[in-house]
Symmetry: C2
Subunit: 451 residues, 2 copies
Amino acid sequence: MIVPVTRPLARYVVSTRLEDLPAAVRHEGTRAFVNWLGCVLGGSGEEVVGRALSVYGNFAGPAQSTVIGHRLKVDAPTAALLNTMSNFAHGYNDTHLATVAHPMGAPGSALFAQAERQRVSGPEFMRAMILGVEVACRIANMVFAPPARAHVGLSAHGVTDGIAAAVATGCLLGLNEDQMVWALGLACVQASGLRSTFGTMGTKLIAGHAARCGMLAAFLAARGYTCSETPIEDAKGYAAVFANPPNLPAATDRLGEQFEILKVAYKPFPCGVVIHPAIDACLTLAGQPGFSADVIERVELRVHPMTLQLCNRPEPRDSIQALTSAQHWIAAALLHRAAGLKQGTGECVRHPAMTAMRARVTLIADEALEGSAAVAVVSLQDGRQLDAAVRQSQGSLERPMSDAELGDKFRNQATLVLPSDQAEALLEESWRLPELTDVGAMAARYFLPGK
Amino acid sequence: MIVPVTRPLARYVVSTRLEDLPAAVRHEGTRAFVNWLGCVLGGSGEEVVGRALSVYGNFAGPAQSTVIGHRLKVDAPTAALLNTMSNFAHGYNDTHLATVAHPMGAPGSALFAQAERQRVSGPEFMRAMILGVEVACRIANMVFAPPARAHVGLSAHGVTDGIAAAVATGCLLGLNEDQMVWALGLACVQASGLRSTFGTMGTKLIAGHAARCGMLAAFLAARGYTCSETPIEDAKGYAAVFANPPNLPAATDRLGEQFEILKVAYKPFPCGVVIHPAIDACLTLAGQPGFSADVIERVELRVHPMTLQLCNRPEPRDSIQALTSAQHWIAAALLHRAAGLKQGTGECVRHPAMTAMRARVTLIADEALEGSAAVAVVSLQDGRQLDAAVRQSQGSLERPMSDAELGDKFRNQATLVLPSDQAEALLEESWRLPELTDVGAMAARYFLPGK
């Protein structure tokens, strides 16, 4: 007896109106947009994006959608790919904490790209974003959240982002239920991503690629390109292939009552979310009166085992490797009393003082700790010890970033590529997403030549 | 201790010249080209290709490479995608028998697309094709051939075709060893495909998508887009994620001494290769003097278990479902005494006499049978039984299709879209691949407007 997954999800998506969603969920749609756009702007200048553009640009189609931060237009799926890469470039984006997936970059970029091709209102954008995130996170739960178990090498966001993009794009295209079933299947068929690439440019391709694939899944389905009825749940399907065991009921449990977007956190620090509690603990220590990094002899961090599994990288060599180096960010928090964009640069990564500090760090996996917790113990040269324990780190579901904090994060990112008055105007407009009549019109006003 | 895989494969590829390969292997490169091109021509008119073109065409880039059978040019990776879909459309292509992968469609299409952008000689094409197939089949062995074991739902060609396309394209681009390592990793990151889509248009997307992804992996690597050193073999890599257990040594065992292209068979029948022994047994029966399908009461086929695992589909509804319906082809062989393109059409699939005959077929999995064997027992209305046993079916490695048979297959396919004199000239030119100085020049002569 197979638990139905694909069709119930498709039916839910096509039958759900924005007004069916609670106000808190709708507001999260706006916050998602603000965070998505800030991260795209902030990451757009990274080398990895430029290098991808230099390749994809050779094969790109008609000038349909904007490559944000690059002042040019390419075909919509390629724009979605590149903007998603920008969104991920600093590792500053968003996290579905139960699965460590990052569900907003791909649908946000797919929606914005399509919003330059058809008039999409703010509410339409929000609905599509919320539903794309909802479906993708439920599928992530089905594969990655206990009691489901997936191989640690399988990229959680890689194999779920495309589904989010497909659903979101499908909402804008007005897919019917059958078409949405096919779109889900066609996204599953293209789902990919391995963690063995983490710490290289390869990892940044994963999400961008997924965004493009997901968009195309929706367009194919809209043209009647069929897929199977049960691509997710059947014996040769997505769930069985990617998880052992999968948790099929998680995909539809309390669908329409519980909302996954409320379980997606925005990152206060530009690195892997499993590093955040350790950063928070170290910032707490570094903020104590009289603290001096100069006299640190040894740093011990007790962390959730997932931190070591994903981010145990004692000697990062560049900014990309630093994104998944717990040691780097612990050192930065202690040495610089900060964990922002500046601490993620190659310059900071390679500084001798950082190398020395990272060498003093020991990570200890502690099964008893929650994912949002960490304990830091710093031993000083004079024999004293300082310690700090964090139960709910900044940016966790219990201590989410406020709208004001999201705004500050946006400003820090946007001003890397926009004059500050434009960044401010764009932020203000982004918060007014629920009232906008044409989201794509932002592109011409802020992101194209002449602006 | 990790068994090295990625770098040894990359090193082998970049250091191997065509003249290092045995004559039989080189000739197989020509046969692969003939079979690849015939299958592309033959499948190009299928609805699934046209529907994909109607979507990908909206986003396609500069007119770089020909969509064979459609008399137009699009960007190279999109052309590779569509031509690969044509190559797969009739399920008539090629099979790596140890893994049921189909390793030639993607690299063939990637190479031809690129050969329209840079001058590629026949020998260069052959070298790239042979090495792409070599690496992809070795990786297929690593994941799918016992003692390795992968989930039955994972598409063997889906997760290996892109690797073949990446290596093949990388050969034309002259990637150095490091770049080839990255190209392999970037192909692995995009590797995807689920068998839950079999029997729908979704399944045809898998190979085409892989071709495009593989090509882009090579182009990215050529531009210095990095990936990791051990994307295949490390603990979070391709092998560990896709197989449990993988067989890492199979990837490099006797590399340069044994050649996988010699283990790739060309299909004599346009359907899943695991159905072929059953077809052969039924054609043997149907060819006996006095045989009449009208008096058949019951048909029992003893087959390798894989036949049931992949192609147990008693009631196919259309030509795509028929591709993976053993019952359909058994019925066709008995009723029509043939198993060619005509028996794969929707018209044949839906004919009431075929429906009735399929209903008489029982498949029995027999662990004792080799993959190339089958036993057919037909019970007649008068109580008599006829039987036929096939040990090595047509198209198996022991009974490979001859060059002449490949030529006949090519003619049947090519004449679906070309006048017979052109088909004949193209076939003759294709056999002269080792002497050609510019493979891509074929496109203008045979496949573009005016021709």
